[in-house]
């Protein structure tokens, strides 16, 4: 994966060199996770225009997408991202800790804990919801087949797992009950894909499963673009707030001479234009007043909890649930 990215990077640099006129342009590399692809395609166009007006400079913005974990590892291993826009703060923490490309307190540098937009986990079901799935408790019923990726390899799947856990712990009152609950839930999972996009494909193209646990934006994308009229979105009364943070990688931008550009890029995500685009691409904006009301109407109200509230932050959630020997491993232990 790293190699293909390096190759892409090389290819891009080569085309840049060959195109001559673009030679002097500065380039920003935004390394992100899978479902943000469409958002940043739109956003980059707007930002390039904005920067041209503001600073009179032509710039390029290059985007790289893939499973969040893989992308993080690529950055740690040397992919020179000026900015990262990832699925969980834990991934950026890892970049700070293992590669020391930015300070450990990075999350306090931008408004709203560096979260220009957030998302949540919803259910995507077959048209008409034949299995009558309304809430998390319905996922463990006999005969309900649930599609969710492997939380060891997918950030989205970790949100799914924690959401189910927190629901059960609250509803049934204990950690043991929560463990039983997720165990039952994963008994209903017939295929464990390695990433969120893989699970979406399994559910939509392969026709496997009664319900897909999905990023809200991914669920909308599925409904609008992949199979109109074939699926319904079910929003459970309570779910997890998916906090998808952004950060400038200090060491890289200093080296590339792109600090002002990278900072302006992330700031622009918080601007009315950026907020509007986020809502348009099914992300819940930090400042909804800038988004268009039709876009906002698509987000139903639900009770959202955060990883910090329920699990004491990502490092602890990771250790307790997803590291080797954690609760997820116990789910499958024979």
């Amino acid at each position: 994966m790293k190699f293909t990215q390096a190759l892409k990077h090389l290819f891009f640099t080569l085309t840049l060199l060959l195109s001559g006129t673009a030679l002097a342009d500065r380039t920003l590399l935004n390394v992100s996770y899978d479902p943000t692809r469409e958002l940043y395609q739109d956003f980059n166009k707007e930002f390039i225009k904005y920067w041209k007006d503001k600073a009179g400079e032509d710039v390029n913005v290059q985007q790289s997408h893939g499973g969040g974990g893989k992308q993080t590892r690529a950055v740690i291993d040397g992919l020179e991202a000026d900015v990262v826009t990832l699925a969980l703060s834990y991934d950026i923490d890892q970049i700070a800790e293992k590669a020391r490309l930015l300070p450990k307190d990075w999350q306090s540098r931008l408004p709203n804990n560096s979260l220009p937009y957030t998302s949540t986990i919803v259910f995507l079901v077959r048209k008409g919801n034949p299995k009558g799935i309304k809430n998390w408790a319905d996922l463990v019923k006999d005969g309900v087949s649930v599609i969710t990726p492997n939380p060891k390899t997918s950030g989205g799947a970790r949100y799914n797992y924690l959401a189910a856990w927190a629901f059960a712990e609250k509803s049934y009152g204990s950690k043991d009950a929560a463990k039983d609950f997720v165990q039952k839930l994963y008994k209903n999972v017939p295929v464990l894909d390695s990433g969120a996009r893989g699970s979406t494909t399994t559910f939509i193209q392969r026709g496997i499963g009664d319900v897909l646990l999905a990023w809200e934006n991914e669920a909308f994308l599925a409904i609008n673009e992949l199979g109109e009229g074939k699926f319904d979105i079910v929003v459970p009364p309570v779910s997890i707030k998916a906090e998808t943070p952004v950060a400038v990688l200090d060491k890289i931008v200093k080296k590339n001479g792109t600090q002002d550009l990278a900072e302006a890029y992330l700031q622009y995500l918080y601007s009315p234009v950026g907020q509007k685009l986020a809502a348009k691409h099914f992300y819940r904006p930090y400042q909804p007043e800038h988004a268009s009301p039709e876009d906002l109407k698509r987000f139903p109200k639900l009770e959202l909890f955060t990883v910090n509230e329920k699990f004491g932050g990502w490092p602890q959630a990771q250790k307790e649930h997803f590291d080797d020997g954690g609760t997820f491993d116990q789910v499958y232990a024979p």
Binding site: Q94, V191, G207, I208, D324
Partner: protein, 275 residues
């Protein structure tokens, strides 16, 4: 030394070989070894004796052996048909054999999953007829590996068959051998070494295969989780040492098995008088 050779360029050739081997093969492998040394022997042992790791090793090596054996049998038949018979569209068919080489493995995996999944064309037929599910079960992994391994077998047997003089069969027949005798005693011993090579290549490729398998496997821990997936899983958790430990073990096991297969090949050649 260099003077006694007819071909010039001994020195540059051998230096090139050594540099190439070092850069492309030895240095990356030693980097892997070094990474594994970050673990103590106890930690290494704990990883290897982990039940989930062992289950994936059984699956990866078992499925690869079965798939390579099946590919060897059918690859032999295909190579035979391509060399010995002529039929309309033969050249096209011949070109098709190489497709699994050229196809990105992920594409192959997605296509195979689509066809063999319980609602897919073939998957549905098999499911309705026999109740056996192919995709998302270990059986699906075997199917993907046969697909990937087949061209290795066909392409190693084909040239040997082409070289094989039909006069030898005719001689056998004229000396009174039955068709079966001619096949078992004359043709098979000549083809067997190439078939074993093809088998070994298909097997080696199968053990390391990721892209085509991952979409059809189902990836359930203890059941349909292949070793390469477990390595990726470790990497996702930033457990580089653990990942390389599994990788190294896989490498050693594969090397031993390939050595064994090479030994077998040598033995077969010797028995059939080719050495």
């Amino acid at each position: 030394m260099s003077q006694s050779n007819i071909m010039p360029g001994f020195r540059p050739a051998i230096s090139f070989t050594l540099v190439y081997l070092a850069l492309i093969v030895l240095i990356p492998l030693s980097a892997m070894l070094l990474k594994t040394f970050q673990l103590s022997l106890d930690e290494y042992w704990a990883i290897l004796t982990n039940q989930r790791v062992q289950a994936s090793f059984r699956l990866s090596f078992g499925a690869s052996l079965i798939a390579a054996a099946i590919a060897a049998v059918f690859g032999f038949i295909i190579a035979w048909s391509l060399v010995r018979y002529s039929f309309p569209g033969k050249r096209l068919f011949d070109a098709l054999i190489d497709l699994p080489f050229a196809l990105p493995t992920a594409v192959a995996g997605i296509v195979l999953a689509a066809i063999y999944e319980p609602h897919g064309w073939i998957g549905k037929l098999v499911m309705d007829g026999t109740g056996i599910q192919i995709a998302y079960k270990p059986l699906g992994i075997v199917f993907a590996l046969i697909f990937i391994g087949l061209p290795f077998v066909v392409r190693t047997i084909e040239p040997v068959l082409q070289e094989f003089d039909t006069a030898m069969e005719e001689a056998a027949a004229s000396l009174g051998a039955t068709r079966l005798q001619a096949f078992v005693k004359v043709i098979l011993p000549n083809i067997l070494p190439a078939t074993i090579t093809g088998f070994a290549l298909a097997f080696a490729r199968g053990v390391g295969e990721y892209g085509s398998v991952i979409f059809i496997a189902g990836n359930m821990p203890y059941i349909s989780e292949i070793v390469p997936l477990l390595i990726i899983t470790k990497l996702e958790q930033y457990d580089y040492a653990g990942a390389t430990a599994i990788g190294l073990t896989m490498l050693i096991l594969s090397f031993l098995l390939l050595l064994l297969i090479n030994g077998l090949q040598w033995w077969v050649r010797r028995r059939s008088g080719q050495l």
